[in-house]
């Protein structure tokens, strides 16, 4: 594999999930549950940064970018968008039996797909999603494959087939170095994802760039995936009741608005 990569550049898989747009999620005032139907979706934002990172690496090293997702067929839309942004091709693992998967079968399924793609040098994921936001899928894939991982990366370089990643943690930025193949999870906002291009859109229109696999195609038993293959269940979801707020807006001209605000805060005894 090293030889092929040296000759033909890197084979990078970007795992991406389609998520409901966070700011559009509304709580139904009657049922107090989240209204998820009809909410527009997008490529999970940090996954867009992961794709951009892959595109930058391909510009430097050449090679191929494959986008990979697991989910319902509606996820095709995001894979196609990623191709229009510059990825070469995509795979969607889609199967009724996958419904209800927690991070264990999700990581397992993605890992199997990565094995089936074959010859992968680098696997990029987002740091976490905006819906379930566990951040466990990337490390889970690395764990299943028993390969190195570098999480929360804001930038990577590849030198002599070693990955050098800047890892953003609470008290600073670490630089980690690991051999390939390697899983890197990408920090949200670390770069500016590009827009789909016209040529990209035309490529997508011609079709045939997103291939579907079922669980059986990956040699997965029904007992390994979906609810059956998931150690955890979501037992219940409570809607968060935000503390009810006064919501008083001071509409007066700035000097007066500020003085009314300060007066109110003094009355509430929160400022001296």
């Amino acid at each position: 594999m090293t030889d092929t990569a040296a000759k033909q550049g890197l084979r990078i898989v970007v795992c991406l999930k389609q998520v409901p747009k966070a700011q559009e999620l509304q709580v139904d005032p009657v049922t107090k549950t989240l209204k998820r139907v009809g909410v527009p979706s997008e490529i999970n934002p940090p996954d867009q940064n992961a794709l951009e990172m892959a595109l930058l690496l391909r510009e430097q090293h050449g090679g191929e970018i494959i986008v990979l997702s697991m989910g319902p067929t509606s996820f095709d839309e995001s894979l196609e968008r990623a191709i229009a942004m510059g990825a070469d091709r995509g795979f969607l693992v889609t199967d009724r039996n996958l419904g209800g998967s927690d991070t264990v079968p999700t990581a397992l399924t993605l890992e199997r797909a990565i094995e089936k793609i074959g010859g992968v040098d680098l696997i990029l994921c987002g740091e976490e999603t905006t819906d379930a936001s566990t951040g466990h899928v990337g490390p889970g894939i690395a764990g299943h494959m028993d390969i190195p991982q570098i999480t929360y990366c804001s930038g990577v370089e590849i030198v002599d087939r070693r990955v050098r990643g800047v890892r953003m943690i609470e008290d600073g930025a670490e630089t980690w170095e690991a051999p390939m193949p390697c899983v890197v999870t990408v920090d949200f906002g670390c770069n500016k994802p590009r827009q789909p291009t016209l040529t990209g859109k035309v490529r997508v229109k011609r079709g045939g760039l997103v291939q579907h696999w079922s669980a059986a195609d990956l040699g997965l038993e029904p007992s390994q995936i979906g609810l059956k293959g998931s150690p955890t269940i979501v037992a219940k979801v409570d809607t968060v009741q935000l503390p009810s707020r006064q919501g008083q807006i001071f509409q007066e001209e700035p000097t007066i608005a500020v003085s009314l605000l300060l007066e109110a805060l003094r009355r509430d005894r929160v400022i001296p």
């Binding site: 819906d131 889970g140 609470e170 150690p231 979801v237």
Partner: protein
């Protein structure tokens, strides 16, 4: 299923100290262990960390499994996963908890796939169900909902817990416990990842935002790092500290330690003044429990107004200097109105 007993906490050591999130978790894990009638064990991998075992016991652990190896001085994913997996198979714990620091999440995420069990991320509350399962309660959808996660048929039940949602447990210097040294066999591949550099950010700022009663928090609307000086001035007049949304952090305007939100700090000040912050769900997740929230934003439709107690729609570059001016004037008045210090009685 073999018998699984005991509650474990992963104790993260950094720069010769236990991280706050680990200590906070000892308090919560103690509560769960007591509910289950179980022992609380702290797992402490590292190098020269033995003195920290004592602290963990004084904070509530019954026993520490200590794994010391110079190669464990700094956290990397594989050797730490090896430590946890080895001990898990040796002792069969019922519950393992991690602090949801970047390293804790990195470790938990890898470990759960390696030992085939579940993992609930970033919990903010724990309970024990009637059947004796751990009820792991965590935010989802950017904090708009709280999911109860159960792991009934796999052991251990694992979860990570958010920073600063559980209080620091009191330290009882008379508490005693057992420290057990463990050795773990590593493989060469465990050390193929190396840390080759570190650039620290100013950590002293973290304390300030954790503890401050008043936070003046700036967002992308500040437009430039130097404008944070305005917020510094306002904060110091109010006796508070400066915090930030994620965008200024990502842009390198302010240190990561100031970030409030889902992937930053959870704060609970008595007053949170959001300046030029739009109010994205991930930001709200870290500050919505402030006692009072003030929003300053020039966009009347900004989501931050929906959870504010008070707001002003307008230009922050006009409003913040005005607030500074008025606070100074008020203070000046208060000074001159204050009676002269009385001569002490002789």
């Amino acid at each position: 299923m073999a018998e699984h007993r005991g509650v474990w906490v992963f104790l993260e050591a950094r720069n010769g100290a236990l991280r706050d999130v680990s200590v906070q978790l000892i308090g919560e894990a103690r509560r769960i262990a007591d509910k289950r009638g179980a022992d609380l064990t702290g797992i402490l991998p590292g190098w020269n960390v033995e003195p920290l075992a004592r602290q963990a016991i004084e904070c509530g652990c019954d026993r520490i499994l200590l794994v010391e190896d110079p190669r464990l001085e700094f956290y990397t994913s594989r050797p730490f996963t090896r430590v946890m997996a080895t001990l898990r198979w040796k002792y069969n714990p019922e519950v393992i908890l991690f602090g949801a620091s970047k390293n804790g999440r990195d470790l938990g995420g890898r470990l759960h796939a390696a030992i085939d069990t579940g993992l609930a991320a970033d919990c903010v509350r724990f309970d024990v169900t009637e059947e004796g399962f751990l009820d792991m309660i965590r935010p989802a959808f950017g904090g708009k909902s709280l999911a109860h996660i159960h792991c009934e048929e796999h052991r251990p039940q694992m979860a990570s817990a958010r920073w600063n949602v559980f209080p620091m447990p009191p330290r009882d210097r008379s508490r005693t416990g057992e420290v057990v040294r463990e050795t773990v066999v590593f493989e060469p591949a465990d050390f193929d990842t190396k840390i080759v550099g570190f650039k620290p950010t100013e950590t002293h700022e973290t304390r300030k935002i954790d503890d401050a009663k008043i936070l003046v928090s700036g967002g992308f609307g500040l437009g430039d790092p130097k404008n944070f000086a305005l917020l510094e001035e306002l904060a110091s007049l109010l006796g508070g500290a400066v915090a930030s949304s994620r965008k200024p952090v990502d842009l390198g305007w302010v240190p990561k330690a100031l970030q409030v939100g889902q992937t930053g700090k959870t704060v609970r000040p008595s007053l949170y003044i959001a300046v030029g912050i739009s109010g994205a769900v991930q930001h709200l997740a870290g500050m919505q429990e402030a006692a009072k929230i003030v929003a300053i934003n020039n966009d009347p439709k900004a989501a931050i107004f929906e959870i504010a107690d008070y707001g002003i729609v307008g230009d922050l570059f006009q409003l913040i200097p005005e607030a500074i001016r008025q606070l100074k004037a008020f203070r000046g008045q208060a000074e001159s109105a204050r009676p002269r210090e009385a001569t002490p009685p002789s």
